[in-house]
């Protein structure tokens, strides 16, 4: 595989290009071309296609795309380019397993296949905005979910009266604070060795991430760090700095990417291709051994509409069939937490990704924009679903998704707000109130009626 020093060489010696030319003259035309060449079509009636040939065409289209486009480096205004052979070589060498955590909590996250009969990797938690006063309790609650293998810890944007801003000293302090909170929360849950794999959600800038990653605050190389690109297929020095530091430390690196459906990638077909291409960028540029994807709808800002389910299911199949690296997806529900619509949207998304052969993570309520909007019950739902639906096929998933969409699509535009953690949990015991328990039980009963199994 092309080495990391060679990546840095190309980042400073690659062809010079303005960002606008990269978008307009290279990226957009090439996406359109490969979608056409490989005859990739979206069928709104099939949100989760069981079409191996389509998945493989999307994979080939993504290979063509990335071999032509590469990764744009914002700071140097140059393009890191790869030959098709180099990309295929990287795919061949990419590890199919990632190991997280310590001691009894050490776990392996493996690549799966579509229609797989193995339990998916169940990842819980949320890196969304959380107030400092409940963050510790949240992590502890996540850690108590025994089926959860790895965890995301919250992001805080305030420390007392100090408000965090990207690149400010408070951001570094917020990252350090959450690092310590994460470890302590898991210790309280009796699982101190559990791998935290969303470092550093409290930090937007590389310098803060690096500061908070110092082992004296609790970070371990067996955790996981997510390296974010910029849309689409761009990276900056801040992210490359993180890669440089963390690879030097031997830490697990992951790549996260949230392509925008309706943005430069175009419609669902182009977005499926671009989402797949991020896997190559992740392996080569972000040096990722695990991959998180979260494509999102430009207008609805969620990922449970039929076109978004098509994007995530087909791109996941393209990766799981042809690459096989540890790969999981994060969905955004339009509905707020503690609502039945949330559980319906979450079920549809989890059906699409689990049957498509990847790992699962909690679907985030309220498009992930509400402070304290994520609830531990969402994580219980995810794990219970993941274990109950072992062996679900894409064909079965597609049928259930269609029935689920009948119940929630009309609520996507004006979704219910729901209730945040402080409104539906006893913060001392971290138990849901009776109303939420009733809502959850009803949702589970109704979902069972549609053929969904929980364990």
């Amino acid at each position: 595989m092309v080495s990391f020093p060679e990546i840095l060489e190309r980042a400073t010696r690659g062809p010079i290009m303005s960002p606008k030319d990269f978008d307009m003259k290279v990226f957009i035309p090439k996406v359109r071309e490969v979608v056409e060449n490989y005859k990739i079509r979206y069928d709104p009636g099939t949100p989760c296609p069981a079409d191996d040939d389509l998945a493989d065409r999307i994979y080939q289209a993504a290979l063509d795309l990335y071999a032509d486009v590469g990764t744009y480096v914002i700071d140097t205004e140059r393009v890191i380019q790869f030959s098709r052979e180099e990309i295929e070589d990287a795919v061949y060498e990419a590890p199919r397993e990632a190991y997280f955590g310590e001691g009894p909590e050490r776990c392996v996250f493996k690549g799966r296949k579509p229609d797989d009969s193995e339990i998916p990797h169940c990842h819980v938690g949320s890196g969304t905005d959380t107030t400092e006063d409940v963050a510790l309790k949240m992590v502890e609650a996540y850690g108590r979910i025994s089926k959860a293998k790895t965890v995301s810890i919250p992001s805080v944007t305030s420390l007392g009266s100090l408000k965090s801003s990207a690149g400010s000293p408070v951001e570094a302090l917020a990252g350090i604070s959450m690092m310590r909170t994460g470890r302590e929360g898991l210790r309280r849950a009796g699982r101190p060795g559990m791998g935290i794999i969303n470092h550093m959600s409290s930090c937007a800038q590389g310098v803060s991430t690096i500061a908070a990653s110092n082992p004296q605050f609790g970070a371990r190389p067996s955790d996981g760090w997510l390296i974010a690109p910029h849309a689409e297929l761009k990276i900056d020095h801040s992210s490359l700095n993180q890669v440089a530091y963390l690879t030097s430390w031997g830490a697990n690196l992951g790549q996260e990417a949230g392509p925008i459906m309706g943005g430069y990638a175009g419609g669902p077909e182009g977005t499926a291709v671009v989402t797949t291409a991020y896997c190559f960028h992740g392996i080569l540029v972000a040096r990722a051994i695990y991959h998180l994807t979260y494509p999102v709808h430009m207008n609805y800002v969620c990922s449970t509409t039929p076109d978004m389910l098509y994007v995530v299911s087909t791109s996941s199949q393209a990766v799981s069939r042809n690459v096989g690296v540890p790969y999981y997806a994060l969905g955004y529900a339009a509905a707020g937490s503690a609502t039945k619509q949330y559980f319906y949207e979450a079920a549809a998304y989890l059906l699409a990704i689990q049957s498509s052969g990847i790992g699962i993570e909690d679907v985030h309520p309220n498009k992930a924009v509400v402070t304290n909007g994520a609830l531990p019950i969402d994580s219980e739902f995810t794990c219970s679903f993941g274990h109950g639906m072992v062996g679900i096929t894409r064909k079965e998933a597609n049928q259930i998704i269609k029935r689920l969409m009948e119940t929630y699509l009309s609520g996507i535009k004006n979704p219910p707000r729901g209730r945040i953690l402080n409104e539906c949990y006893d913060i001392l015991t971290m138990r849901p109130d009776d109303e939420l328990r009733r809502t959850y039980d009803e949702a589970i009963r109704e979902l069972r009626g549609l053929g969904i199994r929980f364990k």
């Binding site: 944007t157 965090s164 801003s165 937007a204 800038q205 910029h230 943005g263 800002v301």
Partner: protein
């Protein structure tokens, strides 16, 4: 070919994002058709159509950008002629837009900028990682009506508040309509920092911009 046919052809070329064709048709028509008629009768209806199709999800950003490029190519030919004739296109307002300090995410901001342009605003796009003082400096320079600030992350949205605080500190708060948007931004945040408006989506942002401007002007 009648004037209607020519205008229809220009409209179609822009809708399809065919900049060569739109420029050629404009060039050919310049002898016989008034530049302002070309804009109002062919080009503006084209951009309205593009905006509508984008709003309802029939087309996406690439098609929108291609249409905008076709519009720009045509305008390059028309502007000198209009200057000669002392004509100008009416604009509904002036917007200074950018992604806030330390935020380098630009897609959403670019979509809003494009939609604002097609809606008739004069748009000054400052790009990404823009400090509060740069937003305000540009707004003062171009006599803007609106400052639109995008932030995509919880750790960058605080810089939206900075813009408002700088405006207050400079005694300029009432001079500008301040709009905020971006992935993590919501109405609650907009209210908390005292922004005038918020759009969850690009389309919504443009609607809010128009509405607030019209309200300010007593419309």
């Amino acid at each position: 070919m009648t004037e209607d046919d020519i205008l229809k052809g220009i409209e179609e070329a822009i809708v399809r994002g065919d900049k060569e064709r739109s420029a050629r048709l404009v060039e050919e028509s310049l002898g016989g058709v008034d530049p302002l008629s070309i804009i109002q009768g062919g080009m503006m209806p084209a951009m309205e159509k593009v905006g509508d199709r984008f709003s309802c999800g029939e087309i996406y950003l690439p098609e929108m950008l291609m249409a905008t490029e076709a519009w720009n190519e045509a305008m390059k030919l028309l502007k000198p002629k209009m200057l000669e004739a002392g004509e100008s296109i009416g604009k509904i307002g002036t917007v200074v837009i950018g992604a806030v300090q330390t935020d380098v995410h630009e897609i959403g901001k670019n979509i809003v900028a494009t939609l604002l342009s097609t809606a008739g605003f004069e748009v000054h796009d400052l790009g990404i990682d823009i400090s509060a003082s740069k937003f305000i400096g540009k707004a003062e320079e171009v006599d803007a009506d609106i400052i639109a600030a995008s932030a995509i992350m919880t750790t960058t949205m605080t810089y939206q508040r900075d813009i408002l605080e700088h405006l207050v500190a400079g005694g300029l708060r009432d001079k500008y309509i301040v709009l905020v948007g971006g992935g993590v931004v919501n109405q609650k945040w907009a209210d908390e920092i005292g922004a005038d408006g918020y759009g969850e989506t690009a389309v919504e942002g443009v609607r809010v911009a128009k509405e607030l401007l019209s309200r300010r002007r007593g419309g």
